[in-house]
Structures are given as structure tokens and as C-alpha cells.
Symmetry: C2
Subunit: 335 residues, 2 copies
Amino acid sequence: MKVTLKDLAKEFGCSVTTVSRALKDNNTISLELRKKVKKRAEELGYIPNIVAGSMRTGQTKTIAVILQDLRNPFFSILAKYIEEFASNQGYSTFFITTSELIDREIEAVYTAIGKNVDGILLLPNQKDTRSIEILRRYKIPHILVGRYFSNLDTDYVIANDQKGSYLVTKHLIEKGHQRILFLNSYMYISSAYLRLEGYKQAFLEANLPFHENDIIIVSTDRGEACEVINSIFSKKQEYTAVFTYCDVIAFETIFTLNELGYHVGKDIAVAGVDNIHSDIILPIKITSASYSRKDMAYEAVNLLIKRINEGINNESGDHYEHRVIDISLSLGQTT
Amino acid sequence: MKVTLKDLAKEFGCSVTTVSRALKDNNTISLELRKKVKKRAEELGYIPNIVAGSMRTGQTKTIAVILQDLRNPFFSILAKYIEEFASNQGYSTFFITTSELIDREIEAVYTAIGKNVDGILLLPNQKDTRSIEILRRYKIPHILVGRYFSNLDTDYVIANDQKGSYLVTKHLIEKGHQRILFLNSYMYISSAYLRLEGYKQAFLEANLPFHENDIIIVSTDRGEACEVINSIFSKKQEYTAVFTYCDVIAFETIFTLNELGYHVGKDIAVAGVDNIHSDIILPIKITSASYSRKDMAYEAVNLLIKRINEGINNESGDHYEHRVIDISLSLGQTT
DNA sequence: CTGTTAGCGCCTTCAC
DNA sequence: GTGAAGGCGCTAACAG
């Protein structure tokens, strides 16, 4: 069963305080006692109750990551690195998923605060900023990851989305494609907005006409892109290439085009963003805008821990930090 | 800043207990007061401190999932469902990764216990059973997921690994393959052992000779299977099919064979286990043994919560439950 | 209906 | 060197 400081104190006939200090190697306790106590604690399998300790110290050594969906490899890989870096710095990690639902995001924030986390990494749904307001009110250190609000300044770590999208579109245009279907995500998501900007930028630069109708909004829910591709490509149309908001949508696109009898990489080009392949080798490597999720996680965790420590030392640090991860083009077999 | 019961009590000039009860809609408190307190709590943004409450009640409404690597889609999809089901039942979820290192598994168990989790889902590394022993000593409810120990009875939820492997191998044999390279995982992992049994079973049943050398052990670390496939298939060899421990290894196999100039699905067959495609649509669908990760997560979470509740009600329940998820063959483009 | 007391396990402060 | 007292925020048991 559970072993507490009290149990140890009883054994040694001393006070809980003494045991606590002995285990912490506090030099106000005789070396002999320290040794004996530590040995006995080991034998009994004493595990310090961090939760109890946190009531006094205020620190739980826990962070929460609020994100959309762990099924999507983009998020799960990011999650992997976040957990790894946090763990290396002595922090445990809660993951709370929202399925892109704003109410669940708010719930998630309440849960995280109720569990006394020291800080939060938030991949916001962006439908509104309520969750940020709650975090501010409660003064919980928090960093946005992957997305930011143009009308609300915060700390954030994002990728250079516009550049990535621009590079991919430019590549497709250079390959001779003039009508490029763009399966984008919802425009209130900052990365979707920026990726559209990059797409437009490449068209503008190439002096090609830009068609508003070539942009279709899809979610990343399993199968949604399949349906859209199916309905467009089973009819006559003019697209010779498809550019997608992210690799997961590109995967569905490629799968469906294959099923429709297309030969992706020859008859039609497909490219995405995220370059999942750099973390998980998949059967085929697709052309994609590539940036390091590892770096992104690293920056996010470090910035968050920095903010947590500032809070503890009561430093003001009233300016927000914005970190942008560079992005490049990674060619694959699909363009 | 933080709002506590004390703050509310001060406002109303009543005791903390009264406020606590009012917020819990306890009918010993006058309806009027209950309403007023709840309204004010809402206004002030009161968030109950679950951690503090847990010190008295003993329940943190938190579980930990100890698993190998969130980058692997198999684990991340399982993680997604676990988080979802746990969350639906009011539990938060810690994920702690071990990278298949037994020392990190032990560390993970200590961390989880130190954070007072109510229960643990463990995907064990199986190099030894120390972590289970610790969990037993501390009487922490725990369920093994995906793997079990043949020499140590516990609660567990696994897939029917032998059947899955048997079905895939049988399918390959029926397609005319006689020399099937098997990229398996380490034999101390129960699922690897069972998948080998299934493979052997199919050969035996078909009266085909079984070659010990056709089995090669690889880890799921990124790129390891690529290297093995490269070294085997760049030389002359007799294999017309490759069967892999899991889809992630199959993906690497297919990618590498493509690079070597093979046409997977025509020149050579590849099949795996997990059927990731059922959760994430990938560019190609591979032949794979399929079972529901959703069911697996559901069973695991429910069994764990059942055990947690038994612990609270001090029921004995000294028999272990074993749940086996059924598995079937899912055909793809690669065989 | 409401309040008081006590305590979960730990740590900090002050006293000896 | 060591201990006692107090408190983190909350809730359960017992009073009234």
C-alpha cells in the first residue's frame, strides 16, 4: 500500500519534518539519519506524493496540451515530441482533445486549470478567443502552437505557412499546371488563411489568373476529402493538380484519385503540407511543404517552461514572443 | 486570479462548507442561497480545484497511459480513443512514453503513482515484470493493453494476434507464395510470439516447409525496416512476399521495394497487421489483419474504470479478466 | 438549514 | 540538529 512520510516518521520515532528533510538531503539533518531514512524509504517503496506537495509549493510539474485530434499524424507526432521534451524537463503531460469543437476547448481549459497544471500548450480552434480569455484571467502560462490570432497578441510558435504554400504552388506552376484545385481548411484558422495567401502569391507572381472557385473547404475528418475529390473528378473538369491544406487530406485525395483510375504523379499531381514522411515512412512519399515538428515542439515546450518560471519568480515579461519555424519544399513521387 | 471557496464564503459571510455544498446543489442548503452562490461563482469564474478535493476523496479522476511511442499511428490512434472514452467518463489522461525502454517504463509508473492517478493502462515493454510488481504493491488498478504476460496473470485486453497472422499468411499462401519473408518484432513481446505462431500454423496447414531463416527481427524505429529490406532485396533472393509484424513496418517495406524498382502488388506482395487504413486513409490501402482499436480502447477504459470503482467500494474481485478483440483479414492493393 | 472540526500529505516558518 | 504549528483547498463527520 501507500507509504507516506508519516509512516517513515513513525518507524524512526521522529517528526515528519525531519524525514522530509532527510529525504531531500538537507544538511541540517545528521548524515547518519539521512542515510538510514533514505535506505528505509527505498526498501518500503516510498513514492513522494507530488500532488500533496503541490498544494504547498503551487507547482504540479504538469502541463496540458489541448489539441484537435490525436488520430491525425500531424498532431500525434507533435504530441510525441512535446511529451518527450516536457518529460526531459520533469513535466508530465495531459492531452485533451477537442475535435475542433470550441465548447470542448473551453471545457478542456477548465479541466486543465482544475487539475492545477503549471501551463498549457494550446492548438486553438479559433472560432473565438474565449479560452485565451479564461487563461489570462487565471494567469495560467500558455503558448499557442501552430495557429495564432491576428487580432489578439499572445505567445505563439507557428510554421511559416504562407511560404510553404507558396513554394508548393510555385513548384506546381513551374511543372506547367495552371488550374490547381486547392482543398483548404476553414478560413478562420490562421494557417488556412496564410496557406491561401501563399497560393495566391504564387499565382500572382506567375501572372496566372486566380479562380475563387478552385478553393474548396474541407475538414480533416476521415473520408471527407475522399467525397469531395470523388464528386469533382468523376465529372469532367480542368484540374491537372491538387494542392491540399495538409498531408492527411492529400492522402485521401491520392487514394481516391487512384480508385478513380488516375495515375497520381503522371496524369495528375498532388501535393500537401506537413511532410509527414519525415517522421513516418509511408508507402509513397508525396510532395509536401516540410518543417520540423520536433523544432516546433521544442520551441513550444521551452517557451512555456520559461513562462512558468517567470511566473514563479514574479518577473513581468510583458512582451509576447513569436517563433516561426522555417519551411521548405520536399519533393516526392506525386508531382 | 484564482477564486476559491474561501473567497466566496467571505463574500457571503458564511462558511466554506456551506459554499461547497451550495455549489454541489446539496438540498440541505436553502434553494435561495444555492442559486445566489452558484450565480456568483459563475461570475467570478470559480473553477473547482480538483487536486485539493482529491486529497480528501482520494480520487483524482485521472488515469495514466504508459505506451511506447506516440509517433507510431497504431499507438496514437489507440491513444485517441482512450482519451475520448476516458474523457467521456470524466477522466483526464496522462500519456507517458517509454520508447520500449524498461527503465523508462518503471520511471513512468513512479511518475504516475506520484501524481496520484486512479488507474493505469499499461502497454508493457515486456523485458521484465517489475512495473507490474510496483503497481501491485501500491494497489493501483491497472490493465495491460495489446500485450500480456504468459507467466503472470493480470487483467488484459489484447487482439487475437495469432488468428490475424494466420489469416494473412494463409491468404499469401493461397495466392501462391511459398517463401514469405516475415519481419517480426522481438520475441519477448507477446504479440510477436503469437504472430509467429499464426505464421507457422498457416505453413503447417498448407504442408509447406517452414524456414527459420525467413524470420527477421526488426524494431519499429523509423527506417530500420528500410535497411533490412534494402540489404535483402538488393541481392538475389527467393521471396515473393513479405509479411510484417505491423503496418508501420509494412509501409517501410513497400516504400523501399518501390525504390528498388519493384512493383508491389504485382512483382511482390506485402501485408501487415493493424489495418491503419481503417482509421487513417493513406495513399494506398495495404492488405492487413484488421481489428478495431476503438473496441480495444473501449474495453480497456471500461475495465479499468470498473477496477477503480471496485477499489473504492472495497470489493475483492480477485479474478482477472481477459478480453480478446476479434481480428479479420482486410484485403488491399499490395497482395 | 448551517457551522465547526479535523485531516488528506507535504512543505515552510519559526522556535528550541 | 530537530520539532511543532500552520496552511495549501477541499470535503466528511459530527454538531447544533
